[in-house]
Assembly symmetry: C2
Homo-oligomer: 408 residues x 2
């Protein structure tokens, strides 16, 4: 289920793609205008896209967007242009429903989920919080560092997240050597990220240069990389995170295309070193996007805004993430998700996870009505939103929301 309150995110300038169903409509690809969900399978059957060259018949009458996302960009652009024209007019009967009566599903089938760490502020803030050392990881400025997450547990916004159990170092033990115990995480965190959705695949052993990689990016979503910090601290050396992340990752239901984001280009980061050729990005002045991100925490019926950050502060672009992941010979498949890693700014109020906000769990965050949080408590709802450009831009991502449920 989804909320009607993001009406202003979905103007004619957006035309996002998702997957929807309702009592009246079988599951199929859809778009959204204001608070109206438009069922694209119905539109295609009515002949709306008949003269779009290269568009497979019945491509929208599918439970995922993968087949459409894999197409060449000009075909996707033509569909978008057609929709922008059409949606100003009356639509065929039975092709629309109000957002409040519709169920939104995972927009793509996810074959691979690779999570990066693209924010210099995040690695500095997190390093300071955990190790009292701001030094970024050794390769940070040379390539976007990343690990593979669990693709099967990427879930759509609204899906509850159960507090995971795992192995944890018991730092309260009176012994000098702290024992490892198994139990529910006591350090549940969110990570405010953006997920890049791979469109047209990159074949194995072909690679792709960052400057050409937009052709392989269908669009972007908000991504919450739920993290159990205590499990992570116990398992991460030397092979990286596994069970501290694999229990669930949430994404927003509407994929905002790069075409919709064209008007919101922003300068990318400056760099001190020369990159490998395949990582050299497009011209710096439009290498990023101006996308405001926000995290709200709903705790005991009060809502507190925890942080505001911006996509343009990332040190690496989606194009560079794709180029790096494909650079040693791996393919990239349609529906693969590449997470940016936590999008943080340099100061309090712009930190994209509680680990940073609480300085590693040492300084509680004060919420509305004096409530405090070090990490998430059962019942807490984390709501992330994203908007391109300024208020009224008409291009937003809606929300990525999830409630933390007690351990089983």
């Amino acid at each position: 289920m989804t909320s009607p309150k993001y009406r202003s995110h979905f103007s004619l300038a957006n035309i996002p793609f998702g997957v929807a169903s309702s009592p009246k409509h079988t599951i199929q690809c859809a778009t959204r205008l204001d608070n109206t969900v438009v069922f694209l399978g119905i539109l295609q059957q009515a002949g709306t896209f008949e003269d779009v060259r290269g568009l497979p018949s019945d491509v929208f009458n599918r439970p995922t967007l993968n087949e459409f996302a894999a197409l060449d960009k000009p075909i996707q652009r033509e569909v978008r242009a057609r929709l922008q024209l059409l949606l100003t007019d009356d639509l065929p009967p039975g092709s629309t429903e109000d957002i409040s009566s519709v169920i939104l599903h995972m927009p793509v089938s996810v074959g691979g989920f690779t999570d990066f760490s693209c924010s210099l502020h995040h690695v500095r803030n997190a390093g300071r919080a955990i190790l009292n050392d701001e030094t970024p990881p050794p390769g940070f400025f040379n390539f976007p560092i990343a690990y593979n997450g669990r693709a099967s547990t990427v879930v759509v916004s609204g899906t509850p997240i159960v507090r995971p159990k795992g192995h944890i170092i018991d730092r309260t033990a009176p012994t000098e050597k702290k024992p490892i115990v198994f139990g529910p995480s006591k350090a549940m965190d969110y990570e405010l990220e953006v997920g890049v959705i791979v469109g047209k695949p990159v074949p194995r052993e072909k690679g792709v240069a960052a400057r050409d990689a937009d052709e392989h990016i269908f669009g972007m979503v908000i991504l919450n990389d739920w993290s159990a910090r205590d499990i992570q601290g116990c398992e991460m050396v030397p092979l990286g995170p596994l069970n501290s992340k694999s229990f669930g990752t949430s994404i927003s239901p509407w994929i905002v295309t790069l075409d919709a984001l064209q008007s919101f280009k922003a300068p990318g980061p400056t760099r001190d070193i020369v990159l490998a050729n395949h990582l050299e990005d497009i011209t710096i002045v439009e290498a990023s996007y101006d996308i405001s991100l926000k995290v709200d925490l709903m705790a005991n019926e009060n809502t507190t805004t925890l942080s505001r950050s911006n996509f343009r502060d990332l040190h690496w672009s989606g194009r560079q993430m794709v180029a790096h992941a494909a650079s040693s010979g791996s393919d990239m498949r349609t529906g693969d998700i590449l997470g940016t890693g936590t999008v943080s700014g340099s100061e309090q109020g712009s930190y994209g996870c509680l680990l940073e906000m609480t300085n590693g769990g040492k300084e509680p965050v004060v919420l509305e009505k004096g409530l405090k949080r070090v990490f998430l408590e059962d019942g807490d709802v984390v709501q992330m939103t994203a908007l391109a450009g300024k208020d009224g831009s008409g291009v937003g991502f809606g929300e990525c929301v999830g409630q933390l449920l007690p351990a089983l």
Copy 2:
């Protein structure tokens, strides 16, 4: 293509499952007796399995084994028993071909690939080689440590592997701070592993106890976790391996079922600490299998046996790997592969990768005719084989073979 030389691995006591095609047969599920490939789609159409309760019609007329692997064990056992009876007799015409005229394909569609590090000898040997420190990783004795690999690049035996390019620390640079450069790996290695194939799925948030997890293991294959050690050394801190492994992972084509391995049970490891309840394994005397593993290197037309080790020396079982991966709430899906990590023994001749054999690249291995290797050279062929029990047991895995091709 596959070699006829493993005839003795595939007696009536084995009955492995794979996927095959030929000019005469469309791609479908198959088994192998001696050097004869038996096409199970054809057999099922001929009515062979008609009275096997719960077996879906046409389950073998598929390009992967996933649908069959997901079934309850009693159904799979009944099919195996039926085949053991049937194969002693004449088979329906057109249902068999000699192994030499058949193409073997990936036996399952792999949704997730998680690679563990279950060998205490390997972590000690590798630690000594890289860091001059044998201390296992912090959690090693508490749970089987692991990372997620790239599922889309798991390939079937016989598929060539292209030497990957990646970011590497240039240790030859005259500067004090060694620069990171991008280029072809100069430290290509193999890792001798066994892959556990998930059968009946484990739902999200359900978990499974190790002692019950055999129900979710369809069978096992040989797995070569090709590794670019120099790329790995540059990227691994702090998020673990990514591009140093994601270019390709090879598996043997025939899945040997746990039923076929029943006669080869062997004692598991002794432990000093009490495990979390879900990791407590079945009775120690039959917690493992006696499976001999061997690596041969074919270089310049000479074959040298590089190592022999045994599955029973692993510190963690396949059941424990499944239980750990599902313990924080992740599902396990049919076709997921869980790699054991390098299977090594405690002494030279039993080390499962070149990193260990060459003491971190410092001491070359001497091959037949005086050739030497520190790491793999272009054109080298790595061939891994595995046999349950002693010579003549009749239950083997055949081979997992791959040639290293020059960087593109």
